[in-house]
């Protein structure tokens, strides 16, 4: 059972990314209409746009929030071959009574890429204020803001070239076994080679290098996401490809004392069609996958640590119109085949999903 609240996004075209800040109280959306919007939730749980601006001269693929200890900072990347960093600043005080206005200022435009910048993501905060971009020409760039009080300087720290075009990247937030671990995926369809690559900082080379390729996944990859790590002794990477994959990465040390990653890939074919996007919840006990079948699937880990599909949310249906609630059942009615979303608050069926 869900309570659903629709928000009119007021974007002129399809939204490509919806991202929430660290606390879940602010939302950033970006769209093909080349604008970015920032939303704030008020005390009653209502969301409203507090800023909206044209950020690029092409479709905006992705948006990413920096950790709040660096302030209110987002990064965007676009088809227009650039990525930008934006910071919210306090404007002039209009009057003594009104709260000062806030606005977003472009701090920098990163113009190093010669092709579309397909993904952008701030690094976990233990690395400082770092930003990684992936681009269609296969290059991962890692930028760093050396002065956290002045975000106009973003020198490139690492540049890693790959043979295949890249469509997505994800930082690992955990420092267990490997530091500065980064995964990227390619949506190249022509070659039957591995499409997910892992990068990490190499002490010997003193730079970020590719350490592994996940060879089990040879279909085009459109999204990767590292799971937040709540005390696990291995890393989990969700991959959206022809199917949904969960890749478990374990650090192992072989007889010669060289440590490497042991890769185990689990495939989930429930969508029966390509999967476009993946997203973890805060403790990585649940996963959302977006399929081409018009469905969002919710996966959850059961008590013996198997992943099971817990619910399906379908795009189709008669629309979010209000219908009177059916008579209250004596207890939770069990999962009947389909229940509808209503505009707000309806007795539907109970999903044991949290």
């Amino acid at each position: 059972m869900f309570d659903v609240e629709p928000i009119i996004a007021d974007h002129k075209d399809v939204i490509h990314d919806v991202v929430f800040d660290y606390y879940g109280r602010r939302m950033a959306t970006c769209s093909s209409d080349q604008t970015v919007k920032i939303w704030d939730e008020d005390g009653q749980g209502k969301w409203s746009v507090t800023s909206s601006w044209k950020a690029h001269s092409g479709s905006i693929w992705r948006v990413s929030w920096a950790h709040p200890e660096f302030g209110q900072v987002v990064a965007t990347c676009s088809f227009d071959r650039t990525a930008s960093v934006w910071e919210e600043v306090i404007g002039e005080k209009v009057s003594a009574t009104n709260a000062p206005t806030r606005r977003w200022v472009r701090r920098t435009t990163l113009v190093d890429s010669r092709t579309s910048v397909t993904d952008v993501e701030f690094a976990p905060k233990y690395l400082g204020l770092l930003l990684a971009t992936a681009s269609a020409d296969g290059i991962i760039r890692i930028y760093e803001a050396p002065d956290i009080m002045n975000l106009s300087q973003w020198p490139v720290q690492h540049e890693i070239a790959n043979k295949l075009p890249l469509s997505c990247l994800s930082w690992n937030t955990s420092t267990y076994m490997v530091t500065q671990l980064l995964a990227a995926g390619s949506d190249e369809a022509a070659t039957p080679t591995g499409k997910v690559f892992l990068f990490a900082y190499s002490e010997n080379a003193r730079k970020c290098v590719k350490i592994e390729t996940v060879n089990d996944i040879t279909d085009p990859v459109t999204d990767v996401a590292f799971a937040p790590n709540a005390g696990r002794t291995f890393h989990m990477l969700a991959v959206a490809s022809k199917d949904l994959y969960i890749v478990n990465l374990r650090g192992v040390t072989d007889a010669t004392g060289i440590s490497k990653l042991d890769i185990q890939t689990i495939k989930f074919s429930e969508h029966n069609c390509p999967v476009w996007r993946v997203c973890w919840n805060m403790l990585a006990t649940m996963l959302i996958s977006t399929g081409d079948d018009g469905c969002v699937r919710l996966w959850r880990m059961n008590y013996n640590r198997q992943w099971r599909c817990a619910a399906v949310l379908k795009a189709e249906g008669s629309g979010p119109t209000y219908e009177p609630a059916p008579p209250t059942p004596t207890l939770a009615t069990t999962a009947s085949a389909t229940a509808k979303f209503y505009k707000k608050g309806t007795i539907g069926n109970q999903v044991p999903w949290h």
Binding site: F2, D3, V4, P6, A9, K12, D13, V14, H16, V18, V19, Y22, Y23, G24, M27, S31, S32, W47, S59, E69, F70, F79, I90, A136, M149, D187, T222, N229, A230, G231, W276, W280, M282, L283, M286, I288, T290, G294, Y303, N304, R308, V312, K314, A315, E316, G317, S318, T328, P329, L331, A332, T334, A335, T338, F341, G345, V351, P352, W353, H354
Partner: protein, 668 residues
Amino acid sequence: MDDNNVPAFELGDVLATRCGNTLTGVFLPGSRIALSAFRQITHRSRDAPTETAGQDPVLIYLAQESTLFDEPVLRSVLAEANATFATLQQLGLRATRAEYVNISRAYRSIVRACLEKLEQAKKSPEVQTDEPRLRRFTDAIIVFYAAECLWHLFEILYIQNNQLVVPQLLDWARFHSPQAEDRATDLLLMAEEASESDDYWSILKSLIMLGEIDVTRAILSQNRKAVQPAFKAAELILKSMPVYQEGYALQKFHSQWEYWHVDTERKIQTGLFATEPELEQVLRLVTGDNVQWDAGIKESQDCYEYLPGYLLFTKPTCKPFELRIAAANWLNRWHLLRPEREHSNMNRMIMQLMDHDIRLFIYEAQKLNDTHWFSTHLIDLIHHCGQLKSYFDQNNIDLPALRHSMIYEYGSYLMSSHNLWQLGIDYLDCCKQEGQAAIELLLPRISLRSERQATKLINLARQRGLTSVEQEICKVLSKRSYDGERYGNALEWAIRSKDVLVVTAVADFILKHYSRTGNMLCPDTIANVGGRMFISPRLVFLSKYYEFYEFYRTRDFLSASELLVNLLESRITPDYFWPSLLIDSMPLLESKDPKIFAKETVAILHHIETELVPIIERDVTKYGKHHTETVFKDYRVENVDEILNLMRLACARNLARALIIENTMPVA
């Protein structure tokens, strides 16, 4: 517990159902999901507006798992259960059965108290007029009523674990079918008049079927015909019914009961009650007569309502393991007589309990719309009291793992919801390292609405040794204060974060601001830094410089001079602050009675030549001679060369004065 039947929900978004579009979702804290229409495009497709752009509204749906606990009344259930949960954890695994029963009762009384409050609140006018709230209350009553009923039965069968279950089952059935008792009270109050009441006999029958023998006798004794032989005989039968008491020899009881039973049947057959057919029906119920009971079943609300009563009159010494068969038979019978009635989930769960099918019971319990309040606390209790250990072993269920995962989920659910996080943390504390790791992830994500809340979070983090969380919160607050131009706060939180980079950054800002404007920001905070200054050399410099600034302001020039010379020697002066610092020395150098000794004056001169001049030269080569973007942004400085010359002159003059005085002092 595989469930291939995955529940599906329909959203019905126009944009998302358009050809080629689909739906995407992301998680938010607090079991929420944001859904929106999605269309996969790659870098290879042409970047143009979608053909259908602007035709359909672009919507974002915030889906939240519905929860009952938005109501303050219900939040108290969570809080009280949390306390009971904590007590149970302290009891551990080796407490006596009585103690576990007490815990179980404590949980139930929480629910009962809450049900009462809910019923009351539901009647209040503000709830009555508020449709969604009224529905929420109704839902909550249904859910908690079910929880209490099931918990009670569970307690009787699996926690108390008495040899005989009928008396407790009777209590249970009576509690959950209170209508008969209410009506019985009415009859008692009406005394003799009651005999004429239309539903007199039907009430008596339902009382008998609930095993309320004493109440039935009381009502019968008030009947107008109570003195007649039939009524007297009935009174005798009911009065003499043997009731099993703890410690009684079972065998002896059995023979007594058999005798009484046969005797009663015989009395009925002799036609002793022929004049009073209704009374006879009541007594036939007492003998377990099938026809009468079938009629009773047809009147009953729920299938379990009269089962305990039936057992009382047919199998008073029913043992827990015999209950399974008795319940199954009863259920079949009930079903045959009432084919139109579908089984509610609650009835099914009651039967699962009687049937000893705990596995299915737990599975169903998780579907209760209470965000797993019931199943989590019950499983935790099962785990602690250990009665069902062998059952879980036989069924290959890893009870500790199940309990752990339930508590973990429940705790993290509470902790990630906005108002309930303080309750969640206690549950996660019971989940060993995994819980600790979850707290570490969730605690810093609780939005910091006030400094008081932040302090609370910091204390919780500190109690658990989560230094990184504490630091993170301080850093966020420091940055937030900085952005809000509350620099004193920013410095204070930066210092509390103990992060060198952040402290240095804030101190830098304050120093630069001073050298640019001559205003010292947040003097109070700086004055109170004290021993904490050693976090960062820049903070040491700031504090010391502030000390100098204070001496100077209070015209304690000797102390000021001494401190200034120390600062110049200290090697912690940031590049950009050299001009400020050296200019500060000028008035002291130019003073009529020298404040600075000859040796120190030489040192100052040395610093001018070795520190300041190179910086000026560096800037000149970097920016050109008259550029404003130099380190010389000091508010007092406009002409660099002039000031440099003045400084040299001031040094020379002070040196001359100092040398004369020092060398002409009388030898002491």
